[in-house]
């Protein structure tokens, strides 16, 4: 712009060069800059309106990722819920039914989870519902898990009790007798050949050669083992739960008072001691101190059908051996 500019000076009627005063230059530059500034601001505005600045987009991406992770957490919560519900279901509907006990009441299972206030002040951001729900769910699940664990404690105890009880019942035959062929005389009043009268016969007689092993028919503790005049060599076992068993006329016994026995342990051998006509085992079962028919209690290798037949057969009279 080296060109010199002139203006027509109306006073001198001459063309005079335009001098660039400092003030003029300054104002020019100022004007120039301000316009540029305004345009700059305009550009910035346009930019921000249509593009996201890098920092912001990075933050947005991070935000998005975090939300994805939260959704995964939510899914895991849902899975956890269904696992817990599955456990509850089996507990109430299957195990407790078989164990003959009541399900845990739903009032206990659902029992109050912390009030709203606990969570409200938690966060200030918009998405707080997502987070609050998650906290609530976890608290709820933890409570349910606690109750379930207590329920399992109860169930385990029940199972242990039942197992002990089933182990204690006189549930097998005292001598090896698959077909119950050795059963000679049964429970109930019988005509006694020696005493010549009807005598209560409060047990079962099993004929067997002297020396045949005799088994404890349930877990228990030996309360007596001694030679009696009527019973001969006899062993008494207390099984608990009201059950006691007696094994009489043994040739010899190999347990002593106070000894613990398990079902199937050999406690002695068949003999003919005491008031007895022939080598046999006289076996009694007492429930709450009253003699009950031992045939009630064992059916090894017999199914219900055969067993019922046997009961019928055994109700016929025979001559007792003692």
């Amino acid at each position: 712009m080296a060109k010199i500019r002139y203006y027509y000076n109306t006073e001198t009627c001459k063309y005079e060069p335009i001098k660039a005063t400092g003030k003029a230059v300054f104002l020019n530059i100022l004007g120039f800059l301000s316009v540029s500034l305004i345009i700059a601001l305009g550009l910035i505005y346009l930019y921000r309106a249509n593009f996201t600045p890098i920092k912001e987009s990075r933050l947005l991406a991070e935000n998005h990722d975090l939300k994805v992770e939260w959704n995964i957490l939510k899914d895991n919560l849902v899975n956890a819920y269904s696992s817990v519900n599955e456990l509850q279901f089996k507990d109430d509907k299957i195990y407790r039914v078989i164990l003959d006990t009541d399900p845990i009441p739903s009032t206990v299972r659902e029992g109050g989870v912390g009030g709203h206030d606990k969570y409200e002040g938690l966060m200030s951001l918009e998405e707080n519902q997502l987070v609050i729900d998650a906290y609530k769910s976890i608290d709820d699940i933890k409570k349910k898990l606690y109750i379930q664990s207590k329920s399992y404690d109860q169930i385990s105890n029940l199972i242990t009790e039942k197992e002990k009880m089933w182990a204690a019942r006189p549930a097998i035959q005292p001598i090896n007798n698959k077909e119950l062929t050795r059963l000679h005389t049964t429970f109930g009043p019988r005509w006694h050949p020696i005493l010549k009268r009807m005598n209560p016969h409060e047990g079962l007689d099993f004929t067997a050669p002297t020396g045949t092993p005799i088994y404890a028919t349930g877990d228990g503790i030996v309360t007596t083992a001694y030679p009696s005049t009527t019973y001969g060599n006899v062993v008494f076992i207390n099984h608990g739960y009201g059950y006691q068993t007696r094994y009489a006329h043994m040739h010899k016994y190999i347990v002593k008072r106070g000894q613990s026995v398990k079902r199937g342990d050999i406690i002695g051998y068949v003999g003919n001691t005491g008031r007895s006509q022939a080598a046999h085992l006289h076996y009694e079962v007492l429930f709450n101190y009253k003699p009950v028919n031992p045939i009630n209690f064992f059916q090894r290798d017999l199914n219900n059908e055969e067993y019922e037949k046997l009961i019928k057969i055994s109700e016929q009279e025979t001559i007792p051996l003692d």
Partner: protein, 328 residues
């Protein structure tokens, strides 16, 4: 600046108006824009380096909070998962103790319908191969013929059923107790572990476990032919009922607590005949249910199909097939 400007034209030796040419304007504009651009970039850079926009501040805060709560909850979640795994272990152990058998795999419980995928693949492949399609068509035709023959005997049976009036309503076609979530079938027909002496014996019926007092239904129309009440035995069937349905079918319901019918009563399918108990040789409250055809004990599962869809019936069959410990 309304002043008119002149310049001295050396060619014409005159003062002429300085015209504003287009290129001048253009250059001016470019000047403005470039400086503006420089400004804009400078401002943005400075701003970015030293300030944060409101949305940035917001986002940063949100991210921070999301992250910290996420970490807390993730830790709790891990803890919860461990506890759940431990409880699932206990659940399996309890199952084993009760049934003396391994728990069923979860996949079986879902009664999966994975069949569709398989067929889709075959279909997609098949359509591309003409020969395959044709041979398949032939096979299908043959099968159709066979099925028509089979159909005839099926028709015969249906005919018989309609003829023999009452066969359909006499068959033992329902479960003997209400079983809403199919949880009550405890042990099925076949070799099972006896709970008393733990040996394997033939279990000739199905055990349905239920709380004491649950009503027991007649599973088909018939007549009560045998009852036993007041059983005091600790072994055997306990209190039981036998119903004769005719056509050679008899059903038996054992270990009952109480009876609701007497010998000679005519009963209809669904009628309450007694209540679940644990009398006789039973280790848990349940009904031991038998189906006897022409004096032979057969598997009741083959009959109790009424009111069940395919999936439910399959679930029952799976439960019945477990070689576990029976309840009697």
């Amino acid at each position: 600046m309304a002043r008119i400007k002149y310049y001295y034209n050396t060619d014409t030796c005159q003062y002429e108006r300085a015209k504003v040419t287009l290129s001048d304007v253009f250059l001016n504009l470019m000047g403005f824009l470039s400086v503006a651009l420089v400004f804009a970039v400078a401002i943005l850079l400075v701003y970015n380096a030293y300030f944060e926009s409101p949305s940035e501040i917001q986002l940063k805060k949100e991210n921070k909070e999301l992250k910290s709560h996420y970490n807390t909850l993730q830790d709790e979640m891990d803890e919860v998962s461990e506890v759940i795994a431990a409880l699932e272990d206990r659940d399996n152990n309890i199952y084993r103790k009760i049934y003396e058998a391994e728990p069923l795999a979860d996949e079986i419980r879902q009664a999966g319908s994975g069949g569709a995928e398989l067929y889709k693949r075959i279909m997609d492949k098949g359509l591309a191969d003409e020969k395959l399609v044709i041979s398949t068509f032939k096979k299908i035709n043959n099968l159709k013929k066979k099925a028509r023959i089979q159909n005839q005997s099926f028709d015969e049976i249906m005919h018989l059923a309609k003829e023999k009036e009452g066969l359909l309503s006499s068959l033992p076609a329902i479960q003997p107790i209400p079983n809403p979530e199919l949880t009550r079938l405890s042990s099925g027909y076949g070799m099972r572990i006896n709970p008393f002496h733990k040996g394997r014996v033939k279990h000739e019926g199905i055990d349905f476990a239920a709380p004491r007092g649950t009503p027991v239904f007649a599973t088909g129309n018939g007549e009560v032919t045998l009852t036993k009440d007041n059983s005091t035995l600790e072994t055997g069937y306990g209190n039981y009922i036998e119903i004769d349905h005719g056509f050679g079918y008899v059903t038996k319901y054992a270990h009952l607590d109480g009876l609701n019918v007497s010998i000679g009563d005519q009963v209809k399918r669904g009628q309450v005949i007694g209540y679940v108990g644990s009398t006789g040789g039973s280790v848990a409250p349940h009904v031991h249910y038998e189906v006897i055809k022409d004096n032979k004990k057969i598997d009741p599962i083959n009959f109790l199909i009424q009111k069940l869809n395919d999936q439910e019936y399959n679930q029952l069959v799976t439960l019945a097939n477990r070689e576990n410990q029976s309840l009697d």
